[in-house]
């Protein structure tokens, strides 16, 4: 026991008396201030991402070692002010006040400020000083500021502000020893007092009186009723933000008395019209006064790199054209760039399949391994390179800062659907995966706007659809050149599938915003951060996370589904079929000779496999629901594969691979699913008659359209239900998308058949 305690070496805080305490450091700061790279440097690979209990805001926590002490570091959502307007800003405020479930109140706040936008960054500081926790300012990107001619005297600033200021360069890892030392010092000393004029507002008599009045009148009641005392910062927000969250929460506890006290307190502050205007003006005046003498250097006359690049990228005429080119280039990279890796994995998987078939005697086990597990899961893993390239492209564009420009360019278009440019980044992430995209919609402040964005995001073709597009386009669209050397028909069809998702999403958003989810035009105010060279380590950390997530999904959900589908397709194996075909084989062997005999035996083998499949559980289910899918021209095998893929789309290919393998190709080592699809036929019951292909071009196109528009992802629906606050929304999303998918597939199959 002793040895374990010594090994863990927790810090003994003041007055701890033998109990060990783990201190919590909260990282606060504006978005784009480099907070994430500071968090990464402090916590490295110990970071864990999850959710705050009861709220769907991402929680990032990690461990940081300073000397022998271990600290818990929480990365709060980026915010410009503690007057919270969106769910993740609310969480940041709640954590700082100790009001967030499951998250202890931090002991120290490290406020990361971008040295280039110091004035604006310090606005949050003025509010943090009122929270009553020790604050350390981490002055980030000092090198970039210097390059712009801004030199900050950190020591002087520290003196004027009254808090420790540590200059750092988060992206280079410079200044972190000093930062860690400052953190250790901050927890060693006792936390500063709250109310007495430590911030600009409370230094002014009227404000101090008003807040003091609220605390006196309501403090005891509030503390008693909700078990947590009323903080000055909360009282301030309740005063200023009329009708806002803080006021509502206070009135919930204190009811009419609370209202009356707040009104009286507002009269004490001698601001004629607008408390918010008075508050912001006071804070900025304080900041400007404090900054005097701390900044030096001459502003350069030349425009910055960012400004120069933006002249091209956000050009009034060329900006959109370049944007379209970048998107196209990305799709080409994904489709073509992963080819060598994909072929290699494909080869390895089929080799593995042959090895298993050779090693294991024919029977249920061999079939389970070769047809179920290897064919099923292997099919999905083969697409890991494509998915990684897609996530890489999106991640780089975001880290560089281009995504903000894309939102700027797209805002006007999005406004015609009732959304705003702020929806662009979450929706665009839907091209990688709808689950983080839906989570990313948190930044949208208006609730109905956010909900609409979340409901249409699944229409954006996610990476799980890519294998299906890839296989079917590869198999049924001829590789003809449209623009020689640049664009071919296959690439064009792929792009069209993505475009289809976007167009339908725009239409759906338009309808939703005019009917069910009507609200005023959302506000669009967004920072355009400087372009930054993305740090290789943060891109790789994120990529690794995605790859692991994908492989885990393959390893669990898809493997489970693949085995289930296999079992349903394999069992039962009625004895009569075996006997019937055995007899037929003997007849053929005795009556025919040579090549004719070989062909007859081959046909019998196929017929037998298909009979087994028809009589299996899967086959019975499939034939029972066939009427649902026959208007689309789909054979029951396709219908069953579609049903099986509802929890996760990738299973569609797995189950097709399984059923086609089971039906049997002559060469068990046959390589791609594509070839199998082309060859797949609907065997006729009788000996004679033509074998018709299972997949024709109209059928293939209708499958593509179905998958483009249908919501077949358990993960998406669960996330949607949580974020939207009700299962009804998830159900709604599922229903409208399935309806669209079915109608779309129907239309396409009819039109394609008619055109052919």
């Amino acid at each position: 026991m002793r040895a374990r305690v010594r090994w863990r070496r927790r810090w003994r805080g003041p007055g701890a008396q033998g109990a060990e305490r783990l201190f919590t450091v909260a990282l606060a700061g504006n978005p784009n201030s480099g907070k994430t790279s500071v968090f990464n440097r402090l916590t490295g690979l110990t970071q864990k991402v999850g959710n705050y209990p009861g709220v769907t805001v991402e929680r990032k926590v990690g461990r940081c070692w300073i000397g022998s002490q271990s600290f818990r570091v929480v990365d709060l959502p980026g915010t410009y002010s503690l007057a919270a307007k969106s769910p993740d800003e609310e969480v940041a405020v709640d954590v700082l006040l100790g009001a967030q479930d499951g998250e202890p109140r931090p002991d120290v706040v490290v406020h990361v400020v971008d040295a280039c936008s110091l004035e604006r960054g310090l606005y949050l500081l003025t509010q943090l000083l009122e929270i009553g926790l020790p604050v350390i300012v981490a002055l980030n990107m000092v090198d970039l500021a210097e390059a712009r001619g801004i030199r900050v005297d950190a020591a002087r600033l520290s003196e004027r502000l009254g808090v420790t200021v540590v200059p750092i360069q988060g992206h280079r890892g410079i200044g972190f020893e000093a930062l860690r030392a400052a953190i250790a010092r901050a927890v060693a000393s006792s936390p500063g007092a709250a109310l007495d004029g430590s911030g600009p507002l409370l230094a002014q008599r009227p404000w101090r009186q008003a807040v003091g009045f609220v605390l006196r009148e309501l403090g005891p009641m509030v503390a008693e009723r909700r078990g947590r005392k009323l903080e000055p910062a909360e009282a301030l927000r309740a005063l200023v933000d009329r009708g806002g969250r803080a006021e509502r929460l206070l009135i919930d506890v204190a009811s009419e008395r609370g209202s009356a006290v707040l009104e009286r307190a507002r009269e004490i502050v001698s601001a004629p019209e607008d408390l918010a205007a008075a508050e912001t003006a006071l804070r900025y005046a304080w900041i400007r006064e404090r900054l005097e003498g701390c900044l030096s250097g001459a502003p350069p006359v030349q425009p910055t790199w960012t400004e120069r690049v933006d002249r091209v990228l956000t050009h009034r005429v060329w900006g959109l054209a370049i944007f379209a080119l970048i998107m196209l280039a990305m799709f080409e990279a994904v489709f073509a760039g992963a080819r060598p890796a994909m072929d290699a994995i494909d080869f390895a998987i089929s080799q593995l399949g042959s090895t298993v078939r050779a090693a294991v005697p024919p029977g249920a086990l061999q079939s389970l391994l070769a047809d179920g597990v290897i064919a099923g899961v292997g099919m999905v893993i083969m697409f890991l390179p494509q998915i990684l390239i897609l996530f890489l492209c999106i991640g780089i564009l975001e880290d560089v800062g281009y995504m903000a420009r894309a939102a700027f360019l797209m805002d006007r278009l999005l406004r015609s659907c009732g959304l705003s440019g702020r929806s662009f980044v979450p929706m665009f992430s839907g091209f990688a995966c709808a689950v983080p995209a839906i989570l990313g919609a948190r930044v949208i402040e208006d609730r109905k706007d956010r909900l609409t964005t979340m409901l249409v995001t699944p229409l954006f073709s996610c990476s799980a659809r890519l294998p299906i597009y890839s296989v079917f386009i590869g198999a049924f669209v001829p590789p003809r050149a449209v623009v020689p050397g640049f664009l071919d028909l296959q690439g064009l069809v792929l792009f069209s599938m993505y475009a289809l998702g976007v167009i339908v999403a725009a239409g759906a958003a338009w309808v939703l915003r005019r009917t069910v989810l009507r609200s005023k035009h959302p506000v669009f105010i967004m920072e355009l951060p400087s372009y930054k060279v993305p740090s290789a380590s943060s891109v790789l950390i994120r990529l690794k996370g995605r790859a692991v997530e994908f492989l885990v999904r393959a390893g669990t959900v898809i493997l489970a589904m693949a085995i289930v589908v296999w079992a349903l397709a394999y069992f039962p194996r009625p004895g009569e079929i075996a006997r019937e075909f055995q007899a037929a084989r003997l007849r053929a062997a005795s009556e025919l000779v040579g090549e004719e005999r070989e062909r007859a035996l081959e046909r019998l083998r196929k017929l037998e496999a298909s009979r087994y499949l028809q009589e299996s559980y899967l086959g019975r289910i499939g034939r029972a629901i066939e009427p649902v899918f026959s208007p689309l021209g789909w054979d029951w095998r396709i219908g069953v594969a579609v049903l099986a893929s509802f929890p996760a789309r990738e299973v569609f290919l797995s189950s097709l691979a399984t059923t086609l393998e089971i039906e049997g190709d002559a060469e068990p080592e046959s390589l791609s699913l594509r070839a199998a699809l082309k060859r797949a036929t609907k065997p006729q019951g009788s000996e004679g008659g033509e074998e018709r292909p299972l997949f024709t071009v109209p059928v293939a196109l209708s499958i593509l359209v179905f998958f483009a528009l249908c919501c077949q992802c358990g993960g998406t629906l669960v996330t949607l239900a949580r974020e939207a606050g009700s299962w009804l929304w998830a159900l709604f999303c599922f229903s409208y998308m399935t309806a669209l998918a079915y109608s779309g597939a129907f239309l396409v199959s009819r039109i394609a058949a008619w055109l052919a």
């Binding site: 007057a83 009034r316 506000v523």
Partner: protein, 104 residues
């Protein structure tokens, strides 16, 4: 050398023209000094928190392809906002001193 925090205040100091105008009326390259933000629930507060307080110097950088939204520069960073929101910010045009602040 010593410069004030709002860097442009030092170099561009001549108010021009009578009366104030709003941010959305400016042309690309124009400099202006914030007078006030018209009251509007939540939006006004957000604009003020981001730096649109009396005295802040603002530069209109450009318009987006369809004329909306606008990109402005203030307090050392760039912000994108719609014409509707920019219309809430009352400003007073400034004349840049020749040869300085010639960025854009």
């Amino acid at each position: 050398m010593h410069a004030k925090p709002s860097i442009c205040e030092q170099t561009c100091a001549e108010p021009v023209g009578a009366g104030s105008t709003t941010l959305d009326q400016l042309r690309p390259g124009d400099l202006a000094k914030t007078v006030r933000v018209r009251p509007a629930p939540e939006t006004a507060q957000r604009l003020q928190e981001l730096g649109f307080v009396p005295g802040t110097v603002v530069r209109l950088v450009r318009h987006a392809p369809f004329g909306d939204p606008l990109e402005v520069e203030l307090c050392g960073y760039h912000l994108s906002l719609r014409k509707a929101e920019a219309g809430l910010v009352e400003v007073e045009r400034l004349e840049p001193l020749p040869g300085i602040c010639a960025r854009g």
